[in-house]
Structure formats: C-alpha cells, structure tokens
Symmetry: C2
Amino acid sequence: MNTTIAVKEKIFDVNDRIAAENREIINNAGIYAINIMASPGAGKTSLIEYMVGELSSRRQILVIDGDLATSLDADRASAAGAQAYQINTGGQCHLDAVMLRDAFKYVNFDKIEFLIVENVGNLVCPIDFQLGTHHNIMVASIPEGDDKPYKYPGSYQGIDALVVNKIDLLPYISFKMDYFLNGVRALNPDVPIFHISCKTGEGMDEWIKWIDKQIEIHKQN
Amino acid sequence: MNTTIAVKEKIFDVNDRIAAENREIINNAGIYAINIMASPGAGKTSLIEYMVGELSSRRQILVIDGDLATSLDADRASAAGAQAYQINTGGQCHLDAVMLRDAFKYVNFDKIEFLIVENVGNLVCPIDFQLGTHHNIMVASIPEGDDKPYKYPGSYQGIDALVVNKIDLLPYISFKMDYFLNGVRALNPDVPIFHISCKTGEGMDEWIKWIDKQIEIHKQN
C-alpha cells in the first residue's frame, strides 16, 4: 500500500501547485471565486440559480459545474442568466485543480466579476482538493439531518462559509438546530452561517449581501 | 498518471478477491447480507432502525456500520436491538471488502441470520467496491431531488433494490416521480422499488416482507 500513498501524495502536490496557478489567474482578472460543495441534492444548483437571478443584472457571472454525467446543472445556471460551462468528471467523485484549469481554456473571463464553481455532490472527497478559489462554501440541508458535522467533520472543518438550506422544511422534520450548530462550531468556530430557503427566499438577502461584499473586496485587490 | 491507474486496478483486484472470501464466510454461516448505500442523510440508519425493530423478535441481526467518524450509527442500531459494530474509515469515502473482513474478526456470527452493512454516506464511491454481500441496496430520498439517477448513474446501475424514502415529504417538495422513475428504469430496468417513509411507516410492510423472504431464501441455501 506504500505505492498508493506515494501516488496520493504526488496527486495532492500537483493539485496544490495547479490550484495556486488558478488562484493567480483569477486574481489577475479581478474575479471573486467560490467552490460550492454539498451532499447530492442539498441545493447547490438552486442556490446558484438564486444568486445568478439576484446578481446578474449588475454582476457578470461565470458558473463552472462539475458532475459525473449530464449538463443539467450548467443548463439551469445558463437559463438563470450566467455564462455556464459543464465539466463531466467521468466518474471521478470530486473536481480537482487540473479540471478547473482545463475548463478555463473554454470560458471567456472578459468582464467576469464572480466565478461560481459547483463541485460534485459529495460530502467526503471534494474538500481534499483545493481548486484555487477564494472561498469554500458548504451547503447543508435540513432533511440531511442534524448529525452531519459529527459524521463528516472534514467537510465542515475546511469551509469558509456555511449555508443551511431548506429551512422551510423545519416544521416537517426532526432537526435539532442547537445540536447541529454545536457540531459546526466545535470544528469551525468562526465560520459565517446563513440560514436560508431557496424555495421561499427566506434568509437570502443576508447571503446575497455577503456574496456581493466579497465580490467588491476582490475586485479592488 | 499510468502509475495511478495501475495501483487502482491492483486495489480493485485485491478488493474483489477479499469480497469473494467474505461471501463464502457469509454463505457458510447461512446469513443473508446486504450493503446499504445512499447520500448522507437519505435515511440509511433510520431504515436499519426500522428493520431491526420489526425483525429482531424473530431474526438474529448483525449491523456493521461504516462512517468517517463517530459510532452514532452503530449506537442507534444497537439501541434498536441488533448486535452492532462500527468501522471508522478514518477519512476513506467508502467501505471496502478488506474493512469488512477485518470487522468479521470482532463480531459473533453465532445464530445470525441477517447482516446489514451500512456504507459511508456517498453517492459516488461505495458502488465501486463490492463487499461480498448478496445485495446492494440504495436508499434514495425525496428531498434529494428527482434528477439523481441522471447525475449519479453508476450508483443506480449497480443496485439490486431501491428504497425511496421520505415520501411523507412529497406534499412539501417539488419532485416529479415519473421523471425520477424513468431515470432509474433506463439504468436498471428490473430493480425492485419500494416507496417508504421511515417516519410514518408508510410502505414498510412490503419492504420488510421482501427482506424477510430474502433471509429465508439464503438460510435454506
């Protein structure tokens, strides 16, 4: 198994190097970039649709979608008003920096201010591969249950903002918010947390304001 | 990257060999064994609790739980009335046959008729690693959305039964059942499908009957 470990380390080294190159490209273009991660069906694509709908009248947005198969997500982002590009990972359980760099060849950065990368739906693997984006954003979802920070600590530890989606379902589901938040805070004490519903729009103002502020900050740099 | 591919192939070969050994151990003991897979929070543990609650008065059940961290799931299976053993994968995104074989050293097969293996919550990686169980069972969940068979085809292709959980949430969620089922049938035309709610108990009779029949079949072999 030592060969496996050596190969893995090499993969991580290469990934980190390419991620640094991606970051430089993004910074030079004055773009704010996020990497959105979540379990399958937590609402990544719905969140992206909402953001594009709210921001695209005043911000140029590029969405790069990662999926095992289909272009369903990129189609939704595109319909919402963003430039969108789909990466099909061909079975790979996460995006990596090389895939993102390859996607950069096919997109047009001209006037883009905000890059949203949607990762493969997976609460385990994506967090291990930095892409070069500025922030890792996790979308949690009420129906997933309140024990997820305890059972998937890596993904909660390595994020820069947490969006808790589907709060409109709280009346129908047994979800102890205190237990959930205690789990998050134990792993990531200062992470900003946004409670939202993509369906009803509840909590969205605060989230959009936060994102818009980040775009402004990274534009000035 | 050729080294990586060669190492991967070697890993799959070793896994398949150990899976065959696991199957022999299980068969010799007259045990029916299933491998339950799903996204995080689809309801694997709730389904196991329900099965143990319904069956443990007349069937001896062993639950082997796989998680990145904690023994929360094994604790729940144990409280419901099964013998339970927790595997912590230490970050690995799936169980493999070697982990299951190692767990076998710590459990007592005496009188066991039904082995439930709960995999790591992940819709991508677990399906690639056979464990030696008789059936792969997938738990889908209404709040995950109706597009999952299209976006995660591998996991829907490689299963022997599909349990669609949380149907009690259908009134509150936009979920096109026809679209979902067409996606499943295109990948896996004959897979038995059970529509259930672990919360209300709806549809559970049929599922428990199917499982009980499988236990009986494998006992006689």
